[in-house]
């Protein structure tokens, strides 16, 4: 059987669903009468359509409703993070924070670096104006990182460790 164009396939589908406008339907029916391949394709689609119409809905288990009703109070169903992974993530965040604080205290970030934008090859090639130099305060940046980590640590502690743990305890009592 020759392969029909996608346009013809779409028209066949619209014809099958009965959504072709009357003028287009008449023209298509005329085409159908002349083309045996098209008739065969329509028959195949009609067979699939008929089978699909006969397909029934599936039935879940008999205790489906009672299981749902008994589980209504268990929410959230499951955190995206297990307690174990939550603790691991928390440990990682704490390690990063501690390292950063130790390095800060040792004065590792006390120097202020300056980024001269005019010395970059890209800016030299495309920008003719003189650009300002940017002073980068290492201590300030690390402080911001430590604060963000602290916020993340609290969120992880709450969502992935404390909440599931308390829910589990309430569930067992």
């Amino acid at each position: 059987m020759k392969k029909l164009s996608q346009h013809i396939e779409e028209t066949l589908s619209d014809y099958l669903d009965g959504v072709l406008e009357p003028t287009r339907r008449e023209a298509f029916e005329q085409l159908l009468r002349q083309d045996i391949e098209l008739q065969k394709r329509l028959e195949a689609l009609q067979a699939a359509d008929s089978l699909l119409k006969q397909s029934t809905t599936e039935q879940p288990s008999k205790n489906f409703t009672s299981t749902v009703m008994s589980r209504l109070d268990q929410y959230p169903l499951r955190s995206g993070l297990s307690i174990r992974n939550g603790i691991l993530l928390l440990v990682g965040v704490v390690v990063v924070m501690t390292t950063a604080v130790i390095l800060l205290a040792a004065g590792a970030f006390n120097d202020t670096a300056t980024l001269d934008l005019n010395s970059l090859t890209v800016t030299q090639r495309y920008i003719r104006q003189t650009l300002p130099s940017i002073a980068i305060d290492g201590k300030l940046m690390v402080n911001i990182i430590v604060l963000l980590n602290l916020a993340l640590a609290f969120v992880v502690l709450d969502r992935a460790v404390l909440k599931p743990w308390f829910q589990r305890r309430m569930g067992t009592n």
């Binding site: 699939a48 089978l51 699909l52 397909s55 809905t57 489906f64």
Partner: protein, 185 residues
């Protein structure tokens, strides 16, 4: 009418009559399970996903804005829950119960009907989950293209193309299956 009944039940559930939620579960469990099963192709997982969808819907009932039908809103939750199950469990083995062919020693008519449904299931299994779901929802005779597009978070035109393409593929697969069956006779 059904939606008005649903809304009345929802109001009472929100007012504290939690047990009435069982009525909604009973009304929609078959379709919810069918949608989940079409996506997951695994009965235990589909059952769990459908149950989770009901529980999620219960906890977000106050957020249901009543602009669409409850069923449309709820089936969207089922669809999203089943899709996220599929992503989580992609690496796992497919349950053998999807491959089990139910055999009943019943009348010939029933046998023939079972065979046809088995062929249809085999053909549907070749589709991707979005096409399979769009086709299933379309043939549930319950939803318009707009509602299906709302459930699947897709444009109505995209859904129409998916349905047409899926049905064409099913027709092709059915033809292949029947040819193979004829050769083995």
């Amino acid at each position: 009418m059904t939606n008005l009944l649903d809304l009345a039940i929802i109001d009472r559930v929100l007012a504290g009559e939690q047990n009435l939620y069982a009525e909604l579960v009973n009304r929609y469990k078959s379709y919810a399970y069918t949608i989940a099963l079409k996506i997951l192709q695994n009965r235990p997982e589909a059952e769990e996903a459908a149950q989770d969808a009901f529980i999620k819907a219960f906890h977000h009932l106050s957020g249901f804005n009543r602009q669409s039908k409850f069923s449309t809103w709820f089936y969207r939750i089922v669809f999203n829950t089943a899709i996220s199950y599929k992503r989580k469990h992609r690496h796992q083995f497919q349950s053998i119960d999807t491959a089990v062919i139910e055999y009943h020693q019943e009348a010939d008519v029933t046998l023939e009907k079972n065979d046809k449904q088995r062929y249809l299931q085999q053909a549907m299994a070749k589709l991707n989950e979005a096409d399979r779901t769009a086709l299933t929802l379309f043939y549930m005779q319950e939803f318009s293209l707009e509602e299906i597009s709302e459930i699947m978070s897709m444009q109505a035109n995209t859904v129409k193309v998916r349905i047409h393409r899926a049905r064409q593929r099913v027709a092709d697969e059915l033809k292949n299956i029947l040819q193979k069956e004829a050769l083995t006779l």
